[in-house]
Amino acid sequence: MLHLVNKSPYESACMDSVDKYAHKGSPILLFEDGVYAAIAGAAFESRIKKIMGDHEVYVLKEDLAARGIADRMVDGVKEVDYAGFVDLAEQNKTVSWS
């Protein structure tokens, strides 16, 4: 199951919910303000790294570019474009946390 998150972890508890309820191995896609969860050197970095131990974490490239943070991602985060987003959504059942 693909977990979709579009809110910043500093504004919303969405990532807490995903961390708590997502089955180990389920991929997580961060988009819109959700991408702020994967910034290196930020307060959430240790959490996202821990989450990445149990889940593949994807970020939407276009949203990184729009926010000027494409070069600030934590190592190991996978970038996808809109087409990649569609592929992931096709391959998995999805649940949106917003």
Binding site: S17, Y21, S96, W97
Partner: protein, 124 residues
């Protein structure tokens, strides 16, 4: 009709508090609408969503209709798969006796498994 004859497994998830936003009200309407169709529906209360079914709400002074009693109508729609996350309740200072309905109390691991079984989600 037996469960195996019902349609797709759908889950309606309440995860926001009532009144501050319209989500939980819309979620309740969604449950009642979906209940009219032959689907295999589960209803789950997690995070702040547990506050939507707190008993004893008095909303006259804030000028919003108290919709919590309507959750009791869910059973009349033959929706019996109601669940609530134990930890969300405890963390928020409530127990199962504080609620207008009595969903089955489950832990986060059971929530995970239950979600994995579903075909589709409606998040409120």
């Amino acid at each position: 009709m037996g469960e195996e004859e019902k349609g797709e497994k759908l889950m309606i998830v309440f995860r926001k508090a009532p009144y501050g936003t319209i989500y939980s009200f819309e979620g309740l309407e969604n449950v009642l609408i979906m209940g009219a169709y032959d689907q295999d529906i589960s209803v789950l209360f997690i995070d702040d969503g547990i506050y939507a079914i707190k008993a004893g709400m008095e909303t006259e002074a804030v000028g919003i209709k108290n919709f919590s009693p309507t959750f009791r109508a869910i059973e009349a729609y033959d929706i019996e798969k109601l669940y609530i996350d134990k930890d969300s309740l405890e963390k928020r200072g409530l127990s199962i006796d504080d609620l207008v309905i009595q969903p089955k109390v489950i832990d986060a691991e059971q929530v995970e498994s239950l979600m994995e079984e579903q075909k589709n989600f409606f998040m409120f």
